[in-house]
């Protein structure tokens, strides 16, 4: 359902010729342009349903090394066009969508050799390496990066660094900005920057480049922290009478000094769906949760406030799954039992290891539910924010209240810190026609359906983001900003936007790098 593929433009062909003359692989083939026009931003699936790809680049380039990256940037400066770095397009915020055309810089062919140094606990890796491949190579040497996001099978290391990604074991290993030691990047003038591994003076340049989403520099390689791969796990599920009991237990675990490898607390709906009580979940909620019964699902989503009230009427219990990693069973048992005792002090009921085992087995599946929902005519997206413990209850109430009439809201709590945690809100609402109906309808119907779908999605998304911002949360914990959240960047940063613009002027004085992102 791609609709017509984008055609090469005269400028695209001219850029292609210049790139090929420089020995840089490039293409204006319509299929390549289409593939580089998108990432996994859920809102963009509405475009796909309408058979549109509104933001193709003019050419796609595949540099092999930092020198070729620099050459592409200098060409963009000379030709007054732009460069949009992309990894594998697994971002979920539209960060690598080329809203102003230009050159899509596909970094997957960056080919620096991998250097694994387990004694010093470091790995040097090219930005274009796929995360799962890196982890596979590390595990062959008995090591691990400890970074397992849902996107691991498709995301690149550069993409992780560009967005400040987190992963399911971040409570133990940290986010990507905690794992990065040094990096190499090319700025908007074509200058290669190499941050230092070791003591340095002044502001930390590495931390200013991480999370810059391709607007300040193109990350080409990085040195990351690795660890010996643990051989064992201790897993547990605990059911609490309420979310608040679960929050207190999580906080107590973190304050005790314990660092589970993962900890995930589910809201009442996800708790029931995860357990043997799934049959007790009202049918409309199951249709939405599993993307089943398309027609019934669309009907149910016409009354999201009723769906949310059904959720409110569910038993209030909350499931926590967590685990520890290590090599010695006794050590793991000691940590696990200590954590369990803290949970039991908050009226937690020990459910054994099965719930946590089930979570680990199925943790990559939820992302595949999204396609069914969109196909049925819904929209689905995840808003992951973070806040401190003292603001958590208010955040949860604020977002649910703001969105109750617009979408079904689910939430889980993970990426736990000493002073707070991340909250991931799943939002499912009605977009419009199913994909099947859209494909068989007229062009005018498709465009009207798109307009209505975008309006519904935007209303829901803006309400949720605003409520989270009002409640003092940060607008993104690990997905990044992209196009999805930049409308609220001024709320997030206030006068800090001036600092951001100054960084842009400093690193990219010609404004060629991913323009239109981060409001820059």
């Amino acid at each position: 359902m791609t609709g017509p593929l984008p055609a090469a433009t005269a400028r695209g062909k001219s850029l292609l010729s210049a790139l090929e003359q420089s020995g840089i692989a490039a293409s204006c083939d319509p299929a390549d342009l289409w593939a580089a026009s998108r990432d996994c931003w859920p809102r963009a699936l509405l475009w796909t349903k309408a058979g549109l790809s509104p933001h193709p680049p003019e050419v796609v380039a595949w540099p092999r090394d930092p020198e070729q990256v620099a050459a592409v940037i200098r060409l963009a400066v000379e030709r007054q066009t732009c460069v949009v770095p992309m990894g594998s397009g697994s971002g979920v915020c539209g960060g690598s969508i080329p809203v102003r055309g230009g050159i899509a810089l596909d970094l997957k062919k960056l080919a620096a050799p991998l250097r694994i140094d387990l004694p010093s606990r470091t790995v040097e890796v090219a930005a274009g390496m796929i995360g799962a491949r890196l982890e596979e190579l590390l595990q062959e040497k008995g090591a691990t990066l400890g970074h397992f996001p849902s996107s691991i099978r498709s995301a690149t290391v550069g993409g992780w660094l560009a967005t400040r990604s987190a992963a399911q074991l971040s409570t133990r290993y940290g986010k990507i900005e905690d794992l990065v030691i040094a990096l190499e990047a090319v700025d908007g003038t074509g200058q290669v920057l190499r941050t230092l591994d070791g003591p340095s003076a002044g502001p930390d340049l590495t931390q200013l480049l991480v999370g810059s989403e391709g607007t300040l520099a193109v990350i080409t390689s990085a040195r990351l922290r690795i660890w010996p791969r643990p051989s064992r796990q201790w897993l547990r599920g605990v059911r609490f009478p309420s979310l608040q009991h679960g929050f207190r237990a999580l906080r107590a675990v973190m304050r005790s000094g314990l660092r589970p490898s993962f900890a995930r607390l589910n809201d009442p709906l996800d708790t029931l769906l995860a357990g043997k009580s799934a049959p007790a979940v009202p049918q409309p909620l199951k249709w939405v949760a599993f993307g089943a019964q398309a027609e019934a699902l669309r009907l149910a989503l016409r009354a999201p406030s009723i769906l949310n009230r059904l959720v409110d009427a569910l038993p209030r219990s909350s499931l926590l799954v967590f685990g520890f990693e290590g090599d010695l069973e006794d050590d793991l048992a000691e940590e696990g039992d200590a954590a369990l005792a803290l949970c039991e002090a908050e009226e937690g009921e020990n459910l054994g290891s099965a719930p946590a085992e089930r979570f680990l087995e199925t943790r990559y599946q939820p992302q595949f539910q999204q396609a069914k929902l969109f196909a049925a005519g819904a929209f689905a997206d995840t808003l992951e924010v973070a806040t401190t413990w003292d603001r958590l209850d208010a955040l949860l109430l604020a977002v649910r209240h703001a969105v109750a009439g617009l979408a079904l809201v689910r939430a889980h709590f993970s990426h736990v810190y000493l002073e707070g945690c991340a909250v991931e809100f799943s939002l499912v609402g009605l977009a419009g026609q199913s994909f099947e109906d859209a494909a068989s309808g007229s062009r005018d119907d498709a465009e009207l359906d798109l307009e209505e779908g975008e309006a519904r999605y935007d209303a829901c998304w803006k309400a949720a983001l605003s409520a989270a911002a009002d409640a003092g949360a940060t607008l993104s914990h690990h997905h990044g900003v992209g196009l999805a959240r930049q409308i609220l960047m001024p709320r997030e940063h206030g006068e800090g936007m001036r600092q951001l613009r100054a960084l842009k002027q400093a690193f990219d004085p010609h404004g060629v790098l991913n323009p239109g992102k981060l409001l820059l």
């Binding site: 070791g198 340095s200 003076a201 002044g202 200013l208 999370g211 003292d390 000493l418 607008l475 981060l518």
Partner: protein, 371 residues
């Protein structure tokens, strides 16, 4: 011109004193006044130093901003583990306030403890501290910084974020050059009794290597001290963590036994660990290879340990001074960060290929200083 400058500075509401060696010392009574004073200094393109901030240029010209009056502790939330504090507050005073709420800043270098919060964050340690799992993170949950025109930029107080570059890092370690730290939300640890233990090794470098090994196994202690001579070395460590201190101590004991270390009685270890240096110490930020290779004899105290290295105080025996300790540290590849008069400039953005970026950033932020 001087009268005009005095007028402008006076209008900021700050107290102004002309320094004997030239320049002015400006003491704002509030953050609002601080903002106005910074705006004046930047508009005049004068060199700006912030008292206790760290790496600001040490020349006598220009303006010395004394933020000592901005010492309020606005709130301490021991349960959540955060405190809101102004930049001029003394770190030791902040620690005392945290302790009253059942929390602590954790082990910190002596120079950090003796200085202000602003100096801690803007200085060479960037406000970093060790956290469980042999990692380091900044203690600043959020920074409020004064920009060149006097306006305040404050980041969201969230444990982590992904909303673009971390703008706090324009202030952290910046020495007040790009923006001036006015206040911050600081992370706290819960107070827990420390468990200590000590071991002997055949040499000082061997003891350092053993501590490094613990960090590489994700078993970094909260603090450590090594004293070594020609006859061997003693390593003492302390662990903090309500549940984890005994676990970490036992695991460390296992690792050290496997390395051939001899366990000593734990009695007195905690006191010995916290004794001030017997010699004239310098403070460094160093990788493990530098700490191992620093000297065959002497005393080291460790803070903020992680898999890559640590902050440390280094002192030589027999009244050999700090200058010699510093020279040995530099020869081993460490960066000396205290005392202030010995601080190494250290590799900056120029060494990373970002010299031009730095100059453009200074201009874009409006913080140029006239030559």
């Amino acid at each position: 011109m001087i009268d005009r400058l005095r007028q402008d500075l006076g209008a900021s509401g700050a107290a102004i004193v002309e320094e004997p060696q030239g320049g002015y010392r400006v003491t704002p009574p509030s953050i609002a006044s601080l903002g106005r004073a910074v705006a004046v200094v930047r508009a005049w393109k004068l060199p700006l130093r912030v008292r206790g901030s760290g790496d600001a240029p040490g020349n006598a010209r220009g303006v010395l901003l004394d933020v000592g009056s901005l010492d309020r502790i606005a709130s301490v939330d021991g349960g959540t583990g955060i405190v809101r504090v102004e930049a001029g507050c003394n770190v030791a005073a902040l620690e005392a306030a945290a302790r009253r709420a059942g929390a602590t800043l954790g082990p910190l270098l002596p120079s950090v403890r003796a200085g202000s919060v602003g100096a801690w964050l803007a200085g060479p340690t960037r406000g970093e501290r060790g956290v469980p799992g042999a990692r380091r993170e900044t203690a600043a949950l959020s920074v409020t910084a004064v920009l060149a025109d006097g306006r305040l930029a404050e980041s969201r107080a969230a444990p982590r974020s992904a909303t673009g570059p971390d703008l706090d890092h324009l202030a952290l370690g910046g020495g007040g050059r790009l923006c001036v730290v006015a206040a911050a939300w600081i992370r706290l640890f819960p107070v827990s009794p420390a468990l200590a233990a000590s071991w002997t090794f055949r040499s000082l470098p061997t003891a350092v290597a053993a501590l490094e090994k613990l960090c590489l196994e994700r078993s970094a202690p909260a603090r450590a001290r090594i004293v070594g001579s020609g006859d061997g070395a003693r390593l003492a460590m302390a662990w903090e963590g309500l549940e984890t201190a005994p676990m970490e101590r036992d695991r460390s004991a296992r690792i050290l036994s496997a390395l051939g270390a001899l366990a000593e009685s734990d009695r007195g270890a905690n006191y010995w660990l916290r004794e001030p240096s017997s010699g004239d110490a310098v403070e460094v930020d160093a990788r493990w290879a530098s700490l191992r290779g620093w000297s065959q004899q002497g005393e080291l105290q460790f803070f903020g340990m992680h898999a890559g290295g640590a902050f440390a105080t280094l002192a030589l025996p027999d009244a050999r001074g700090a200058e010699e300790a510093a020279a040995l540290a530099r020869a081993a590849g460490a960066r000396v960060i205290a005392p202030r008069r010995m601080r190494d400039a250290g590799p900056g953005w120029e060494a990373m290929g970002a010299g031009a970026v730095w100059r453009r950033l200074v201009e874009a932020l409006g913080v140029e200083e006239a030559p």
